[in-house]
Symmetry: D2
Subunit: 366 residues, 4 copies
């Protein structure tokens, strides 16, 4: 239940304030150069404490590879990665030990498991997404060999919508803003919420270019369904759209259908897939994040024994989870696409026989 | 890849114009009364041709149980169900044999598999959802034993939004309308699109009441993630929201967090779950369906060999897939919840030992 | 739990005396000619009633394909196959309805599920293996495209061991005997047991030739481990050996290690694999079947309510399950190898990139 | 592919001479006391270098728990465990870098993956079984709560068979010998092989007592099939028997069927299961291990480029893998049984409803 994917599987472990968190990424083909600096750079993009827009917890998020490579190359065996926790302040959580923070998983974890690691949310903390980013980084290394490129950015904060979608800008922006013209207004909304000890929601646009036709395994491992699962499973996500998503419901069929021309699709309302299989066009997914549940205002809640009590949070929290969430969206899309790539572009007998019988695919590698 | 679920698994088969379609539902506990009339009644709710709002294809969708029951009771072995196709008009598809219908999976199936059953969309046809409804019906029988009840309805058509949510009304409405006051307007939008040889989009609201606390298996089998997968995997779905979904991104944390009181949650923006685990409140999911891609207007497309051509569809099609889609949404939610129920409310050692050691759970059934 | 395999998955359904049994085989690549006559001929090899060595139940075991093919070619979608039961004599089982037959699954099914279809053993009947043979036949069709050939035969009956291993002879022999010189002696042992209303055990040797190097996915989907699972899961199997199996424990390392020469392995004690991965040599598996539990002598047992009672069986039974079991062994090996073939000879990045980028693997199939 | 189990899943990582090896054990119920001293003591039983009967490599095999527990109690989240390698002598392997050791996985790993970590066999080393023992130790903690106890011992070495089966003795014996009267003879056989720079095979008997009726999920997750998979997947295993195994093929049905009496089974030829489901009797499995492939005699092999060459091994190796293998057999049986226990004794609707509706299973744990 802590494993994602079918042929490329990411199994994660770890709690916010435990010894370490990490993952085992299994299914990576042999022969891939595992660029550790790249993996670390992806973790750096996600790590907290880089700007006032983020939580003040400062973690190095230094990743260490424990297995699966030999002389810097993947060997086809599972790649384990670990990140030790270093900057926990568990004391900050003493006062919430016996109560349930509104909007958090405290209530449900306690009732499901009968025990909970209350320090920083334990397993339910978004800190676990560091392991996803580590795994996603290796997925990206695989995908880049296939010519697939994934980028993301924040397209909306507190209702302020991007009108331009500049993914290169987002990569440099400290709030991952897609629209440079809206960036300061969006940033201000975040800081304003922070000043009011409150939080805001936001929306992340993630896209993949260079996706070949044929990824996705209908009917129950469709590309769109699995992307929806992947994105909705990120902490604080509440909605997922593929392509034009909700806007398609306001169109007529004659407007929404993407005409097909000898040069390709004339439009991309579909967001790069049809029938759950990639159609060769740019893959587009929008993920909507609720405002961070951790706010510094008094909130009404109950204790473990059911008594009404006021919750006053301490600690350090992101005022808008969409910002760092954008990096996680990329990782999840990378994991999905790399898994789908391993499952196969096509399921054709001719491919299979070619692979087995063609001397070009001889396995002795002389 | 044609199997959905982990412990309650639905594996479906069949094409729109093949001999039959059906499913194997595995994991149903022994001792459940398998009410065949109920299963058939669920299929009747979904079956086409009941009103001018739907495709004219008239299928009895008569389901036959082939295995897994003994004297009307489930035995714990796989339940196979089959529905023979009877009213195919494969001729209607001769003219699309060599071209790709815009908005359909023809293009991607052909490129992925190198072969496609073009008759009625083959495997990619929404006709396959009959098998989901059959499986979902048995899931509902299981859930009703646990006090869980699932209902759905259409809350929006062509941008016309429901303001009331009357699930009992929806069940009787021929277009599954939730709001009796908007129903005729919504119906008119569908019929109007039909007259224009076009189609419209719509939105389905699905909810479950009586859901206990504790369903959902974080981190990679979260209830919300799997519901998103389940709904996005339905034909023509383009967006999924949990609870207040997109609206949460326009709220502050202080507005969106549901306060907890000794009597329960004071609001339900979250839609019945926290951290991917059900919180005991009503579970709420919205599924957005694009307008039916099958329209009777001339459309621009290409042939298998890449030449530009005009596509003129024949056949019989739903002008708004959300209508019959609502029944499928219920089935998918039922399958998800029944699977989660089998996986367990809680993962506590005390439960396990009680089950094994308590004489009340003795297995000899004297 | 009724699904076998990872990428080629066989899900079976059906009981001995139910309406029908069958399977869904998912993962078959598109473009394979589905030779129905071959599938039927495999079922004919397994079907009962062909000689006095087998049960007298006469079933046509006529298989019908319900989905997954188009104009005789696989489309990459699930292939459902059904075999209707026609020659049940459920009355034969009325007297065992309330008792547990020794050596059978009656006792455990009843205690696990609290209900059992007592007619012919219900789901636990070896009749279910017809569905495996149907699935295995398609797996064989796939494998034959890859140059892999599977054969089997009975190498021991009631302690009478084959000294020659003539697989072509076995295919023609009515008891699947590998050694023509021992055949009449082995046959006599079976008939003698039958005359005494008893049964005998037997051993099946199954081998695959043409297996390329590289099948098997260590560490937990090793070729030998999965073959062991596949064979031990056949009704009445009690032991599985790979290659020289038990005999290797009586050898020194210096005798058992297969020397490697530029021309290949100098011996094949290992049975065609090393470290759970095929080594290119002939794959050899031995499956040991206990004597059929159904015998026509008085046996001591208890009723459902725990009272001592004498069990007197009626019905029709094989005096030696190894005979028809040999066909099932082939099917299981075929399913394992075809699954492993889809999982991949090698997990190399170069293969993946070649598949995605090489114009020879272009998916447009012009 | 590096994950074992369905509901209790063990995912392992690590190579013989890499940084570390370890595992993630997922699915452990919350509320289990995780006795770290016990886990370490299990690893100590398996660790090398305890006697001249074992390899001279001395590893502390100190296990560290990284996640999944809180104040010493399992929380229901994944338990990651790591063992750092400390006593590698990678130099010992320089001379085999370009050749394939006979009887080892070098040849197949190289051909499958195109790259291999030659140091100590890399991933294919039996050193990985330390991770299984760590996971198995926690499985044993779970099982002991259910009254299930697993023990093992060596019942045969180099053809010298035990005639007594004293599991308590085996636990104290440095060669895990079951028969104290045969122990010195068996030990001498091992030491004699060692003196001759050779190795011997051996057989391990593993049994579980206290197993309730109902474990095992037919038809494709049968208890016997999965035990066979588990045992055959251990390094150097070549055969697996359940209960009387091969001996059953020499019996008549009338001899082999275990009569059922009101007090239980009158004999246990079946080895504790029927139809793939535990029958409440002692579970008995035999695992046959080939002689260690690492011997210190000159052997004929080839290089990566296919040239004939003589292989002269250095390094430190067990002369009989069955000795330490016995501990691994226990771990694998524990993992299988704990997984089966989580999957359920019975799949009955009444259990499910009791769990959901009975106030005794209320999840608030007041």
């Amino acid at each position: 239940m802590n494993t994602f994917g079918k042929k490329l599987t990411l199994t994660t472990f770890g709690e916010s304030h435990g010894k370490a968190l990490g993952c085992i990424l299994d299914g990576v083909p042999a022969g891939l150069v595992i660029d550790e600096a790249f993996i670390q750079s992806e973790l750096n993009r996600r790590k907290p404490g880089k700007s006032p827009l983020e939580t003040g917890r400062k973690e190095d998020d230094k990743v260490e590879i424990l297995s699966g490579t030999f002389e810097g190359i993947s060997t086809g065996t599972p790649i384990a990665m670990v990140i030790f926790n270093t900057n926990q302040k568990s004391k900050d959580y003493d006062n919430i030990k016996d109560l349930f923070r509104p909007g958090h998983a405290d209530f449900t974890y306690y009732h499901k498991y009968g025990i909970r690691d209350y320090r920083g949310g334990g397993r339910s903390s978004a800190r676990e997404t560091a392991a996803r980013v580590a795994g996603g980084a290796i997925a990206k290394l695989m995908l880049s060999q296939l010519g697939i490129n994934i980028m993301s950015g924040v397209c909306e904060v507190d209702g302020i919508k991007a009108e331009k979608f500049d993914f290169d800008h987002a990569r440099k922006s400290k709030m991952m803003a897609l629209d440079p013209d809206r960036e300061s207004q969006q940033e201000e909304a975040i800081l304003d919420a922070k000043r009011q000890h409150d939080s805001v929601g936001g929306v992340v646009l993630t896209r993949a270019t260079g996706v070949p036709i044929g990824l996705g395994e209908p009917l129950y491992y469709k590309l769109d369904a699995i992307l929806a699962e992947a994105m909705m499973g990120i902490n604080a996500a509440k909605a997922v759209e593929i392509g034009d998503g909700i806007a398609t419901t306001h169109m007529k069929g004659s407007q929404n259908n993407d005409p097909i021309t000898p040069e390709g699709f004339a439009s991309n309302h579909a967001g790069g897939l049809l029938g759950g299989i990639s159609n060769g066009d740019t893959l587009i997914v929008k993920t909507h994040f609720k405002p961070t549940p951790s706010i510094f205002q008094a909130q009404q809640t109950i204790t473990k024994t059911g008594e009404a009590v006021t919750c006053e949070l301490k600690g350090r929290h992101d005022p808008c989870v969409a910002v760092r969430g954008a990096v996680v969206c990329e990782a999840m899309m990378a994991l999905v696409l790399a898994d789908m790539a391993l499952l196969g572009l096509g399921k054709k007998m001719t491919h299979l026989t070619a692979l087995y019988l063609d001397p070009k695919t001889d396995h002795t590698q002389k």
